[in-house]
Symmetry: C2
Subunit: 202 residues, 2 copies
């Protein structure tokens, strides 16, 4: 297995943290996206969307989409559990993972993509989309602050993939000036705790 | 189990088709979202985001997010397989399901939410977001047309959850004038085929 990686990317970071929490070490190959390596015919055969991360399997086939990669790794290496242990728990963790993906990651990625120098000329940048996305991200953060008032992690007592998705989103948030506001102490406490895990810099 | 449902909603439709394909029949309870029933304290206890569908379990707990609901139902009722049979297959179907969710459903939902009368005054509507979302949906449809040139379904030979997500998105697309363009014959052939399944009106 080879993980096609992009060190500064938000989605690849999810997979690296997931691997580190599982105690797994697999070959990583950095893709020079700034140099256009994600848009070559060879890479587009792995992922026609030209995005990272991609997990290339030993038979040459490839899995893209960070959450699908994590699920595949979880099926092969269930311990420690990061996606629930029973159908009921797994559904609960997936619900929170998808909420973090849709309600937090998505607006932060939009805010970044529609303002960053890197994407200028590469995608259509719409200032109104960036502004709307920032407002949405802050609304989600305020909701999360309330949710985290009475539990240590996003989906409950345990650290899960939902936390990984949320913490990677907030790391990218810093790049667009979206930091946890002072009036959100529970979210700040959670972010400090997950950022202090040994795997957070994976 | 009770499925809290919203008949015209795109996400509830995913679950209804999934149930029908599995041959499952569970109690459904329509939520009067137009009348505000999704925003009552009772409903917000089931889903603090106030969205449909929600699967209420017999212990009173609830699973929101349509894809998490489908996975839970799939774990309980694996036949017929709609999410793959092996870790490798499951990852492949999940990759395509997430692509359809992110690249097709998401822009079509944005285009609808930012223009529809129903959402006026309920959410912030930004005309530029709707226009950008329509352009993105059409780009995804053009890509899908190429992908479907050499296979019957989104993820390969078999009908899966990825098809359900995509077909529900295109049903909503009609409401914002996003129909399959004449120059996309493979996408049109696929959409006609999935729309002709007995479960498509579930």
């Amino acid at each position: 297995m080879i993980l096609h990686d992009l060190t500064p990317g938000m989605h690849p970071r999810r997979v690296r943290i997931f691997l580190a929490e599982k105690g797994l070490s697999i070959e990583k190959r950095e893709v020079d996206a700034a140099g256009g390596a994600h848009a070559t015919p060879g890479f587009l055969r792995l992922n026609p969307l030209g995005r990272l991360p991609v997990l290339e399997l030993d038979d040459g086939s490839a899995i893209a989409e960070s959450l699908a990669i994590c699920r595949y790794l979880d099926a092969l290496h269930p311990q420690p559990p990061l996606m629930g242990r029973t159908p009921r728990e797994s559904a609960h963790v997936e619900m929170w993972t998808l909420r973090m993906d849709h309600e937090l990651s998505r607006p932060i990625v939009d805010a970044f993509a529609h303002t960053s120098e890197f994407y200028r000329g590469r995608i259509e940048q719409v200032p109104e989309v960036a502004a709307w996305a920032c407002r949405r991200a802050l609304q989600t953060m305020a909701w999360l602050d309330r949710e985290l008032a009475d539990r240590p992690h996003i989906a409950g007592a345990d650290y899960t993939l939902a936390d990984i998705v949320a913490q990677c989103a907030l790391v990218l948030g810093k790049a667009v000036g979206l930091r946890v506001p002072a009036e959100m102490p529970h979210l700040a406490r959670w972010f400090a705790a997950v950022s202090a895990r040994p795997t957070a810099r994976a």
